[in-house]
């Protein structure tokens, strides 16, 4: 019975995601009728390069600008949420977010280096990605003590590595010319302004499998969250599975951050919201958080690009909406969810 109820909740969330898709694709700064939007998508999806009855501008806006952006929003929401689920389980701490091991600081560092020294680095996106992975690897390396890695040491070294990389970002900001400074600031606030099909494909290719893998290991994550010794007692080698899950979550989060910049709060909020619906079982929290995160980011991005004439950075919207929600959730429902 509980299973049926949870399954129904998951289906409702999927419906919600579908419902959020329509306003996201229809609305925008440039007014295109809903029917026109769908006929363009339908025709393009069937492989027609030049659908009849649609202006060139409409086609470009719907197919080349809005659709990849919507896909990217969904992928990024899934990536951050499911990475949050994996990190929280691995570190046995419901307040951990995907940036805890230095993903965001590393990516910011890489992005700012690439912006300030464009001739020395291969491009903002790839540099941000490489630096994000590098930061996490350094955190992991520092936390290693006699072959063992304790979650506390890992979180601590993540904070330290994050501080180091942030310091480099500070240096870059100091050195940057005015336009570069503006670019760095915008990059760090996060947004999907430049979404292309290449970005969407890359994100889907990495984030899809990462999500499935973390979902598949949801039960492992439950056992792991009890602590290393208990996990061993239940037949799970905690070191291996933690390395695998952290690696997968980091990869997904790094791809997402390198494409979209730093989008705050989703990775912390979506897992909590999912736990509110499904309870703590990660076999349900993983898909629930992924869908909730996707819906949330899709809605926030739609708001970001339609609320005012100029676009608002996505990271600002997610924080403004997210922080009060999390506060409400913890104050009103914290007792139920966390048993205090």
């Amino acid at each position: 019975m509980i299973f049926r109820r949870k399954l129904a909740a998951l289906l409702v969330l999927l419906g919600l995601l579908t419902a959020a898709f329509f306003p996201a694709i229809i609305s925008g700064a440039y007014d295109i009728k809903a029917g026109q939007v769908f006929s363009i998508i339908w025709a393009k999806a069937k492989g027609q390069s030049e659908p009849k009855g649609a202006s060139r501008a409409d086609q470009v806006i719907v197919w080349r600008i809005r659709l990849p952006r919507v896909i990217l929003a969904v992928a990024a929401g899934m990536a951050l949420s499911v990475a949050g689920v994996a990190y929280q389980g691995c570190f046995r701490n419901p307040l951990v977010e995907p940036y805890i091991l230095g993903v965001s600081a590393g990516a910011s560092c890489g992005a700012s280096l690439a912006i300030v020294f464009p001739n020395h680095f291969p491009g903002t996106q790839i540099t941000a990605f490489v630096f994000a992975l590098m930061a996490v690897m350094i955190s992991y390396g520092l936390a290693r003590n006699r072959g063992q890695i304790s979650p506390v040491a890992l979180v601590l070294s993540g904070v330290i590595v994050g501080a180091l990389f942030s310091a480099v970002v500070g240096v870059m900001k100091y050195l940057a010319a005015d336009t570069q400074l503006r670019e760095i600031t915008f990059w760090m606030m996060g947004g999907l302004y430049y979404a292309t099909w290449a970005d969407a494909r890359l994100a889907a290719a990495v984030i899809g499998p990462a999500f499935l893998l973390i979902w598949y290991f949801g039960w492992h994550l439950n056992v792991l969250s009890l602590g290393d010794e208990e996990a061993r007692g239940l037949g799970l080698n905690p070191t291996q599975i933690r390395l695998l899950l952290v690696a997968v979550a980091t990869l997904a989060a790094s791809v997402c951050v390198s494409i979209c910049g730093i989008i705050a709060w989703v990775g912390l909020m979506a897992p909590h919201a999912a736990r509110f619906v499904f309870g703590p079982d990660n076999r349900w929290v993983a898909p629930g958080a992924a869908i909730l995160g996707a819906v949330y980011l899709l809605v926030c991005d739609t708001v970001a690009r339609t609320l005012t004439a100029a676009e608002i950075p996505l990271g600002i919207i997610t924080s403004i909406l997210g922080a009060p929600y999390l506060l409400w959730l913890l104050r009103r429902k914290g007792g139920e969810i966390y048993g205090q």
Partner: protein, 305 residues
């Protein structure tokens, strides 16, 4: 109850000389203790003649943290149907011995084997299907329900997909019924009382369907009635043929509920054997380094300061 008062038997006055009999295991157990008349009969009804085949054999295990040697050649046997208490002061190496037996720590030397195979070569998952662990009081970071907690006992027997089979669900339901908590299956584990939480952990170990169960101080911080419930549950589990080893700080509990005892001090086994023949005032005084009284009241033996 007042009429039941019998004149206390003073023990220790006529202790027989320690018997020099070699250990059944053929290993050095230190001086033999006991044969205290106060323990000759025990109303708890310690079972004799439990199976001779040992489920787990621990031989001359040594372990050190850095340069500090914590286990200095410990040998032990876990027998089916036997409830074995592990007694010893703080820092005597009980927990370390537990962790070695459960595969959490790798002994520096010596051997721990099951069915003639070293547990080090079994792998975490196969070992967990044979040896279950009931940890001390803990508070998980996430508020799993009681049934979710017990389901995790099926983890070592999982299939390729993280889905419970009918067999798994039956084992979970059976284990919950066994400890009398089937009505709480949907409740949050962290909201239960301390005694109920211990029983959930015992149920999880039962769902594991292992041959041996190790319990780390299962009654610490429980009230008197809950301590009795946990002990009675554990006794009945041993009666069904599991080998049960309990780390315990109350020598009275070992006297009342255990079949056998192993006393550990300074990383060595001081004495081991049947409770009635091993637990005596001299052993306890040696263990804890202070004078201890032992008396028999209403047919039961009590240890007091």
């Amino acid at each position: 109850m007042a009429n039941d008062l019998v004149s206390p038997v003073l023990v220790g006055a006529d202790l027989p000389s320690p018997s020099p009999s070699a250990s059944e295991l053929g290993v050095d157990q230190g001086p033999a203790y006991g044969q205290d008349p106060a323990f000759a009969h025990d109303p708890a009804g310690h079972r004799d003649g439990v199976g001779e085949r040992a489920l787990m054999k621990v031989r001359e295990v040594r372990f050190s943290y850095g340069t500090k040697e914590v286990l200095k050649g410990v040998s032990l046997e876990v027998k089916p149907g036997c409830l074995q208490g592990l007694l010893g002061p703080n820092g005597s190496g009980k927990t370390t011995l537990f962790k070695c037996c459960l595969g959490f720590l790798k002994p520096k030397s010596g051997l721990i084997e099951m069915d003639g195979v070293s547990i080090g070569s079994l792998g975490t998952r196969r070992l967990a299907a044979k040896v279950a662990y009931v940890p001390q009081e803990h508070y998980p970071s996430f508020p799993f329900t009681v049934s979710e907690m017990v389901e995790m006992g099926r983890f070592p027997r999982r299939g390729r997909l993280p889905i419970l089979s009918r067999r798994d669900r039956e084992a979970v339901a059976g284990a919950l019924a066994r400890v009398g908590l089937e009505k709480l299956a949907g409740d949050s584990y962290v909201r239960l009382s301390g005694g109920q939480r211990r029983l959930v952990l015992v149920a999880r170990a039962l769902a594991q369907e292992a041959e041996i169960m190790f319990l780390d101080e299962p009654t610490s911080s429980l009230d008197f009635a809950n301590q009795l419930v946990v002990w009675e549950t554990v006794r009945s589990i041993a009666a069904e043929g599991l080998g049960v080893v309990i780390c315990c700080h109350d020598p009275n509990h070992i006297l009342w509920f255990c079949d056998e005892v192993a006393a550990l001090k300074g990383g060595r086994i001081l004495a081991q054997g049947k409770v009635g023949q091993t637990m005596g005032r001299d052993l306890l005084e040696e263990l804890y380094g202070r004078s201890i009284g032992v008396e028999k009241v209403s047919g039961r033996t009590f240890i007091y300061p």
